[in-house]
């Protein structure tokens, strides 16, 4: 028995098997928005937050911060001070594509979650920040949102109460850094998306200086489920300290890639089996368990490792966004790292010197090794560079760039050494 329990008979809740669930009438026919009704009519805002806390839900955007706790950080309501919710749908982490599928197939669950969050924290408006590349999905959500407003489920005096809540779509324009919460706020304010120094945290001073909470799409989509079926039901799914349903985005050299919904705490080996095993019966070489910025795991490190925060930390990686990349034995890890370094160099916003310059030099050094012109000492130089970058910048992009470099070199050192020039030149060879 794994932490995920009896996952073979797991029934999906985030993406339940219902045709055309993205239509408002289909969603409502299945009991949609009734939880919102119940919450707004019967519960006090503090009770909603308490229920969220009890459920043990942890943010699905990468950092894994407890959601209920985050909600309770909002300062007491003052009528003259507006407060906001931001939904982070700027899904740009390489290897992650779960939020897009959720927005495509079950957008109303997200809207309902947003409205519940607005009620729990007494907010008037939520900005739904979607990355600019998802233009088609933004158009779809605009249409559905209009129907939500027409049905008086949102907007002024929603559901015939004296509450007013708005959901406002914001279209990004292609910047990975906007997924960082403070940078997302800068972007919403119509500025260059340079991250801010924390503290002050968003709950004290967020968009336009007002209290703000920022949650990921999947996190907010869990809210209606928790309030509908109860925190105990939620807490019983999957791993004990990191419960709930989880969308696993599986890509790479597998026979059946795609987004899968299962409880948290699935064995990585089970997930590989679900995804049809490796393509062409090749051997597994490496797994990236949660997007580009988490340390890569060697094939011999995944035995018994489950997909939850604690187990992956013990194994020497992180859950991140649960966007998993499986790589087979033919994979060139130097080329892999070169591309990752290129990504971070391209996406560094340029605000802090260690990151702006460091990511560039990282790419230069790895490119040199990949081209066969590197020296063995370059590997140590790269590790030294990681030391110079980690924890020395405003946001975590520099750390996210350093972790994969450090760990890929550490865990696949032979691959790198093979590509480097030999350290000692033979005399009289």
């Amino acid at each position: 028995m794994t932490k995920a329990g009896n996952w073979k008979s797991y029934e999906r809740v985030l993406l339940p098997p219902v045709k055309n669930l993205h239509h408002l009438d289909v969603y409502r026919a299945g009991g949609g928005y009734e939880t919102l009704h119940k919450v707004v009519k019967e519960l006090e805002p503090q009770e909603v937050t308490a229920e969220m806390k009890r459920s043990g839900l942890r943010g699905r955007g990468g950092a894994g911060f407890p959601t209920g706790l985050k909600w309770s950080f909002m300062p007491p309501v003052k009528p003259e001070v507006p407060r906001y919710l931001c939904c982070n749908a700027d899904e740009s982490e390489p290897g992650t594509f779960k939020d897009r599928q959720l927005m495509e197939y079950n957008p109303h669950l997200l809207f309902e979650g947003i409205l519940i969050a607005c009620y729990a924290m007494s907010l008037k408006a939520c900005y739904l920040y979607v990355r600019g590349e998802y233009a088609s999905w933004i158009t779809h959500m605009e249409d559905e949102l209009e129907k939500v407003y027409d049905a008086k489920l949102a907007g002024k005096n929603m559901l015939g109460t004296n509450h007013s809540m708005d959901i406002i779509l914001h279209k990004g324009a292609g910047a990975y850094i906007c997924g960082e919460e403070t940078s997302l706020m800068e972007s919403l304010e119509g500025k260059r998306a340079y991250p801010r120094i924390k503290p002050p945290f968003p709950a004290q001073s967020g968009i336009w200086g007002y209290p703000t909470t920022i949650n990921n799409v999947e996190t907010l989509a869990c809210a209606p489920l928790i309030l509908d079926r109860g925190a105990d039901w939620f807490a019983a799914i999957g791993a004990e300290k990191n419960p709930g349903p989880l969308l696993y985005g599986i890509s790479g050299h597998v026979n059946r890639p795609g987004v899968y919904e299962y409880p948290t705490g699935m064995l990585i080996t089970d997930l590989l089996e679900i995804a049809g095993g490796m393509r062409g019966n090749k051997k597994l070489k490496a797994v990236v368990p949660g997007g580009a910025s988490v340390p890569v795991l060697r094939a011999d490190m995944i035995e018994g490792v489950t997909m939850d925060v604690d187990s992956l930390r013990e194994a020497g990686s992180m859950l991140g966004t649960a966007g998993m990349l499986f790589l087979d034995e033919d994979t060139d890890m130097v080329a892999f790292l070169r591309r990752v370094a290129h990504f971070y160099h391209h996406e560094s916003c340029g605000q802090c010197t260690p990151c702006r310059e460091g990511t560039g030099w990282m790419e230069n050094l790895i490119t040199r090794i990949d081209d066969g012109e590197g020296n063995l000492r370059d590997l140590d130089l790269l590790l030294d560079l990681c030391d110079q970058m980690e924890g020395r910048t405003v946001c975590a992009l520099a750390d996210a760039a350093a972790w994969p470099v450090r760990n890929t070199i550490k865990r696949f050192r032979e691959d790198f050494e093979r590509q480097c020039r030999p350290a000692v030149w033979a005399v009289n060879a």
Partner: protein, 224 residues
């Protein structure tokens, strides 16, 4: 010492570039102004509407030269420097003229190992254009972009900042280019979840214009 000021390593933008649009062309219609006003109402200050307005301007003018940015700044009563700053920060705002069709091929790591670079190289050869450039005929701009969030259906690309094309093969790229040449608009492709296929026998969206599955990627010949 002062040599680097006269000869900067990075070329500075021309302070007075030749405008691409005449005074007459540079205005928003009443309808567009109403849309902009609608966006401004959604934010506490007009700053928030910058990104939407830049999208509108790019749709209208095709790209965002300084005179268009000035128009946006004037419309929102913001400093030109701020609008310029925003437009130059985000990669999807085009600062120079692009081809009729902008092909963004994803080559980030999932696509890298699933043939993203093969598709990029195939397009380079077929369209006779280097990545990051516009073809001589001015019809195609080929770009190598970072993760577009469709890693399961790699290799993939996005056309004109709009529809996605998934599970690309050279044959599929040919078909796609033919459709573009014929002036057809690309459909919205809904990718079937593997679990949906098992439990529902296919895609859940009956209104989808086009349906595909997640496909095991082909072996990639090159990874960079």
């Amino acid at each position: 010492m002062a040599d680097f000021i006269r000869n900067p390593v990075v070329a500075l933008p021309d302070p007075n570039p030749e405008p691409h649009f005449s005074e007459k062309q540079l205005s928003f219609t009443e309808e567009e102004k109403a849309r902009i006003a609608g966006w401004v109402r959604q934010y506490p200050t007009s700053d928030g509407a910058v990104m939407w307005t830049l999208w509108l301007a790019q749709e209208k003018f095709g790209f965002l030269p300084p005179e268009v940015l000035q128009l946006v700044a004037a419309e929102l009563s913001l400093p030109y420097a701020q609008v310029y700053g925003v437009a130059t920060f985000y990669t999807q705002y085009f600062k120079e003229k692009k081809g009729t069709f902008v092909l963004d091929v994803c080559t980030c790591f999932s696509c890298q190992f699933c043939g993203g670079y093969d598709i990029l190289a195939y397009l380079e050869e077929k369209l006779e254009v280097k990545r990051g450039h516009t073809s001589a005929c001015g019809r195609y701009t080929l770009q190598e972009v970072e993760c577009l969030g469709a890693c399961g259906s790699a290799p993939m690309m996005q056309v004109n900042n709009g529809p996605y094309a998934h599970n690309l093969t050279p044959e599929k790229v040919d078909e796609l280019l033919e459709a573009l040449e014929a002036g057809k608009s690309l459909p919205f492709v809904s990718i079937t979840l593997p679990q949906d296929e098992d439990e529902m026998g296919g895609n859940r969206r009956t209104d989808a214009e086009s349906v595909e599955n997640y496909v095991t990627p082909p072996r990639s010949e090159r990874t960079q």
